[in-house]
């Protein structure tokens, strides 16, 4: 007689052999789950937010490209629109201690308040754990995760990589387009783009 448990283990082993190696998240696949402490000291677990669209925004308040989108009010406007649709907006700061954009919890909150930013919450990721999990390369680097927890957009905020704020007008904002498609139930036209901006200060 064969041992069912043993065969189950064997099957598991076979399954593991064929599992892909841990790699950067892919659009169309499950967004990697993570747990982090936010600037309010509360635990944030991505998978607790299934059922809602989640935007991850990598930011660094001193980066000129972040300044481009916050100085012009572009990012705040997008946040407001998104929040009004019930989207959760998570700003993530992956700057390592001593590097540009590294701030304390209180500083992060103050910067957001001064700028009139309204993310759901802000996460300081000074170890770079979440940033590397998502292969976040630039600030800004935007990810959109749908209500099922699938990554549906990964890339730049828009299609004009100039640091000039004047180029925002007329640019195609990929994140807005993705959120609109999710709301309307249409296919997201552009789901993967090359992010532009300052390198994340890991």
């Amino acid at each position: 007689m064969f041992n069912v448990k043993k065969f189950g283990l064997m099957a598991l082993a076979v399954g593991m052999m064929t599992a892909p190696a841990m790699a950067a998240p892919k659009v169309g696949e499950a967004a990697p789950d993570f747990t982090a402490t936010d600037v309010h000291g509360k635990e944030f677990k991505l998978s607790d937010h299934q059922g809602k669209t989640v935007v991850l925004e990598w930011t660094n308040n001193e980066c000129p490209f972040v300044v481009k989108h916050y100085g012009s009010g572009n990012m705040q406007a997008l946040q407001k629109e998104a929040r009004a649709q019930g989207v959760e907006w998570i700003s993530i700061i992956s700057s390592a201690p001593g590097r540009q954009g590294h701030v304390t919890d209180a500083e992060a909150l103050k910067i957001a308040e001064d700028k009139g930013a309204t993310p759901t919450t802000i996460i300081r990721d000074e170890s770079g754990k979440v940033g590397k999990m998502y292969d976040a390369k630039t600030t800004p680097h935007m990810f959109v995760i749908n209500a099922e927890g699938t990554l549906v957009y990964d890339g730049a905020i828009d299609d004009n990589s100039s640091p000039r704020a004047s180029t925002i007008e007329g640019a195609n904002n990929y994140v807005r387009a993705a959120l609109t498609s999710l709301k309307d139930g249409t296919e997201i036209a552009t789901s993967k783009t090359q992010p532009y901006g300052c390198g994340v200060k890991y």
């Binding site: 064969f2 950067a24 696949e29 990589s161 532009y196």
Partner: protein
């Protein structure tokens, strides 16, 4: 008369030119400008000549002098950053061409990698005067924007105004700076180059001209213009094959579908320095190893989504009765298989001998044998069901995907062969092939003969039972097991029938002295089966492991020869030899992975290309070519037979060539998830499987794929591939 350098310096403010900065600051009209940011680039607009006529083109340069340790960016900035911008304000009819970039360097930036410049770089841009231009002085304005980064990034902007045909600058020309800049540009060449991807690796193959001396090249690297084709920070691996340079680098995240043109700068490093070439690579025609799981899944849903193909041996949902009949018939046929036949023959002959004296014993033997067969079938099927429930991507024939089992079967069949040949006689157990006519041990022996028959029959069920077995695994577990039980009953049936119907026994030849010769004769099919199993093993493990199995066979022979000779010494030697033979098996198992890799590397398709779901998807969606898929395995005799008789022949090769058929071969010798999934999508659980995808209709849609029978003939293959597939 060249009096002045033709360079407009609008502002020079930089960290490392402190004094100059202070001087400039002092000259500024308003103290509020003290807020001015520090600069890390000095931007100059280089104008080769201020004289231009209607329809003429001049090339201007944007010189970037970059502070030490800071860098600016290429067109594709790499992991972060942004390309520079030149925004021109030109009078009506004037035109500014694309910005042209010198060859970039790779610049490491923490875990990221950028493509750009250090120290100094000059970008070039063509400006063309309209045909109707009257030659009067004209102002051209440009706003230059350059991102410069060290550990932080700073965008820097400068506005320039150049006045062409300004009488004050008449004859003012300085083309040398532009000419010098051109030397830093990649040379546009038409080297043949292809790109492809395989297992998450981007592969660029560039054929250098024959005239080039490859020995002088110390190193090479490339930077691609499209973003995300490679993992920028990954180390490239360079190899030289004749006059080809092959560069492999981990793949990036942009699908090839989205890449318009694979323009790249190839840099060759020699003792004399670096030479840069701008090449345009074409997608490798054999391309297809798209690893993207999404595409693979898409391909599968496409396949299962299409309506069921037409061939009569396709079996997605035949009735249960029909399936059981097929299973029974299949079991019957197994009796004729070369691996089963010798055992059954001897068993049957012994039955005749027995039946003459003890009809009751004969019936008991028949039942025990049947039970042995059916229980063995149920065990193998049960194991497979449990494994599949556990998510393992395996199918029927999986037993032979494990080299340990193949080696074990080789040992077993070899022992049976030795026994038949009369090298040794065994009174009990395994050797119960014709002896132990009346003992109780004989009943147990009959049971194990059934087990043995099943064991040696399994390789044959893989190729011949695919239909029944395939259905079996699409059914609930209880029905699957029923099908296997009936299959086993089929295998046991002739013997069972003989043991219960003595009248039939009269048709069998009388026992006699000839039986001894016949028995010896039957050892040869056994040895053939052993040879075949060893051949299968070669494809699964390395030659060193094969050697240990061969030594094992000699040790076994020696063990059986030594056992009856001498008292304890002979037996001791026999036990040691047998132990040594068994020791070879774990060695084989341990080497399994390596062997599979070895096989992957060395197997050489003489015809066709390696199957993968993405390859198939590529041909089906990106080309109009018909596609022929062959699913085979080294241990599948039917597959080999079909291949030799109907596929790898001139006539079929011609049909492939004439119709531009893409021929994909999936080798299931070792476990392969992609192939198992593909087999499942056609309701199959084993090889062979032959599927033909006809060329698309006018409107681009493909006719349904055609499944060919499991036994091919050349004419059948040709007919399938040349038939008209009428739109319906």
């Amino acid at each position: 008369m060249i009096s002045k350098v033709g360079v407009t310096r609008v502002r020079i403010l930089s960290q490392f030119l402190c004094l100059f900065t202070l001087a400039m600051m002092a000259a500024l009209p308003s103290p509020s400008q003290a807020q001015e940011m520090e600069r890390y680039t000095t931007l100059n607009l280089i104008v080769p000549s201020y004289d231009i006529q209607a329809g003429e083109t001049i090339t201007v340069g944007l010189e970037q002098i970059i502070a030490p340790h800071w860098h600016t960016y290429w067109q594709n900035p790499g992991d972060s950053g942004a390309a520079p911008n030149m925004t021109w304000t030109l009078p009506e009819g004037w035109n500014a061409g694309e910005v042209m970039f010198p060859a970039p360097d790779k610049i490491e930036y923490g875990p990221l990698l950028n493509y750009g410049y250090s120290n100094r770089a000059v970008l070039l841009q063509d400006i063309t005067a309209p045909l109707g231009y009257d030659g009067s002085p004209v102002d051209l304005k440009v706003s230059a924007e350059v991102l410069v980064c060290k550990d932080i990034c700073i965008p820097e902007y400068d506005d320039f105004v150049i006045t062409l045909n300004d009488p004050a600058r008449a004859g003012d020309a300085n083309p040398s700076l532009i000419d010098e800049a051109r030397t830093t540009f990649p040379k546009s060449v038409n080297f043949a180059a292809t790109y492809t991807e395989k297992k998450d690796t981007f592969i660029l193959r560039t054929s250098l001209p024959e005239a080039m001396n490859m020995d002088l090249i110390n190193d090479a690297y490339f930077v691609p213009l499209p973003w995300g084709v490679v993992d920028n920070a990954a180390k490239p691996v360079i190899s030289f094959e004749g006059n080809d340079i092959v560069i492999k680098q981990a793949r990036g995240e942009q699908p090839f579908d989205d890449v318009d043109e694979m323009l790249a700068v190839l840099t060759l490093v020699t003792d004399k320095g670096k030479a840069h070439y701008e090449i345009i690579a074409d997608l490798d025609p054999d391309y297809a190893q798209m690893q993207a799981q999404a595409l693979k899944e898409k391909a599968l849903t496409q396949k299962t989504g299409t309506s069921i193909p037409l061939e009569d041996n396709d079996i997605l949902a035949p009735s249960l009765i029909l399936t059981l009949v097929l299973a029974f018939g299949g079991g019957l046929i197994l009796n004729l298989m070369p691996c089963v036949f010798p055992i059954l023959s001897m068993k049957t002959l012994s039955l005749v001998k027995m039946a003459q004296h003890h009809p009751g014993h004969a019936r008991a033997h028949g039942l025990a044998y049947t039970a042995g067969v059916i229980i063995s079938f149920l065990l193998v099927a049960g194991a497979l069901i449990v494994l599949q429930l556990g998510g393992a991507q395996i199918g029927w024939g999986f037993q032979l995907q494990n080299p340990l089992i193949v080696a074990g079967l080789a040992y077993l069949l070899f022992i049976v062969g030795l026994n038949l040949a009369g090298i040794f006689e065994v009174g009990h157990g395994l050797g119960n092939v014709g002896n132990n006519l009346s003992s109780k041990k004989g009943i147990i022996g009959a049971f194990f003969t059934g087990v043995l028959a099943t064991l040696v029959a399994t390789p044959c069920t893989a190729p011949f039972m695919a239909t029944a077995v395939g259905v079996a695994f699409t059914q609930p577990a209880a029905i699957s097991l029923l099908i296997f039980a009936v299959l086993g009953l089929g295998l046991a049936f002739p013997y069972l029938l003989l043991s219960f119907a003595p009248a039939l026994q009269s048709f069998l030849p009388r026992p006699g002295a000839w039986m001894r010769s016949f028995q010896q004769f039957l050892s040869f099919p056994m040895f053939l089966a052993v040879t075949w199993l060893l051949w299968v093993l070669i494809q699964q493990v390395g030659d060193a492991q094969l050697f240990s199995v061969l030594i094992g066979l000699v040790a076994i022979t020696f063990a059986f020869w030594a056992w009856p000779r001498g008292a304890w010494l002979g037996k001791l030697v026999a036990i040691i030899s047998f132990g040594a033979a068994l020791y070879g098996l774990p060695v084989v198992a341990k080497k399994m992975d390596e062997g599979a890799r070895y096989y992957q590397q060395t197997k050489n398709l003489t015809l066709g290309e390696e199957f993968s779901a993405s390859t198939l998807d590529y041909y089906l969606t990106k080309t109009d070519r018909p596609v022929f898929v062959e699913m085979t395995a080294a241990w599948c005799i039917t597959c080999k037979l079909n291949h030799a008789s109907s596929i790898d022949i001139d006539a079929t090769r011609d049909v492939f060539a004439d119709n531009e058929v893409a021929f994909l071969v999936g080798d299931w010798t070792n476990q392969d998830t992609g192939i198992t999934e593909y087999l499942h999508s056609f309701g199959r659980n084993g090889v062979p499987l032959y599927v033909f995808y006809p060329a698309p209709y006018e409107d681009g849609a493909r006719p349904d794929p055609v499944i060919l029978p499991q036994l091919l003939t050349p004419s059948l293959v040709e007919k399938t591939m040349t038939a008209d597939y009428i739109e319906h």
